[in-house]
Point group: C2
Chain length 256, copies 2
Amino acid sequence: MVKIGGNIIDDEQLLSSFLKKFAAISDKKILIHGGGKLATRMAEKMGVSQQMIDGRRITDAETLKIVTMVYAGYINKNIVAQLQSVQCNALGITGADGNSILSHKREKGNIDYGFAGDIDRVDVSWFTQQLLSGQTLVVAPLTHDAKGQLLNTNADTIAQEIGKALSSLFHVVLIYSFEKPGVLQDVENENTVIRKLHVGYYQELKETEKIFAGMIPKLDNAFKAIEAGVEKVIIGKAEELDMLISGNAGTTISHE
Amino acid sequence: MVKIGGNIIDDEQLLSSFLKKFAAISDKKILIHGGGKLATRMAEKMGVSQQMIDGRRITDAETLKIVTMVYAGYINKNIVAQLQSVQCNALGITGADGNSILSHKREKGNIDYGFAGDIDRVDVSWFTQQLLSGQTLVVAPLTHDAKGQLLNTNADTIAQEIGKALSSLFHVVLIYSFEKPGVLQDVENENTVIRKLHVGYYQELKETEKIFAGMIPKLDNAFKAIEAGVEKVIIGKAEELDMLISGNAGTTISHE
């Protein structure tokens, strides 16, 4: 499973070369994509003002309409068509399709995120059936509440939840595409990639404050996925996908 | 199989009540939807001028982007989410998904239609597999050329081609949603619905000019579908879906 974000999606050439590498993976595979800048540009063009709190988009009704068009329409279908052109039989979905990912609207706390979904259930048998029929799934970051409402859902979280759910049946490797070549010891120096990370070493790095604070939520989530059964989480540049998989680049997070 | 167009899609209440009736059909089913006015409104908002020739949209690159967003994103996923809310397990697709409908870019003749697709092949086994797994397919009017290009494709034609292809394995009934209650003998009088139409009677009506000229291409296509193995084509108002199916409304076109 590979999750890609805006830095790949927004760059046509980077995306095309990434998709070729992704198509070449011979194992069963799932691609989860985020949104990128196109949704923001579309909102500007349509005069819908975007509210961001702590880097998260607040999804009001008009914004939900835009992300449904951009994520599930434009980005998802263009990725599918491109994968088909390199002999990768892709099926593009949201969590509403096949009732594959059920969520509920996030409760209003201090912040009202609007139409944002927190995941309740991933349908393992649905994913398994589609994968076993030889298809590659391309997942847009939208889920549904089974009451007719689509909900904007964080792509990192979708990747993690699908990974955890499928780990009961498959050996799951979860790859997070990242702007940096991996988890860095010194955030200013790309040559300080931590190549292997397991629970003990991670605790040590946290205690001695040798890890960039901004990475901690992401890494905590990665370790939760490992505890839930995911075999490996790999963090690194999507451009180096083949090397990430072979273990020759990025940060590999595992039990041991 | 039911094809719906703009008159249903553009009216939230009509669409919602139609989808409930559609969900209640117990047989395996496919919904093919057109575009509606939303794509035109989006194009206006985004300052993309729309060229229409003989009622057909010319699909330039910017227009393709818009219809991909609106048809495959907004309309398709909202229909899927609504069907899920009435216990109909829907999967929304374009012809690129699962490589289900292959087409080629229409050759430039007197008119250059741009990114418009003419269908080459419907993957019967793909459709069969998805239907047999208990899913209802919701098809947006886009196909692909297997070279990475999405193509805008007429929804009536998609419905017809899927119907013809599936008729080798299933008894296919093809329902075309229409503004009028059926094929009318007198286009000004909605009480003149022709209830049953077969080849002989159709020829007679054509020869005696007792049929509205504008209906002839649609009916010629319906008879082609019948010749290719489709059991019945029914034309009528989507609001009367249950009555169309039971044979108590609309025009039913068949061999005999």
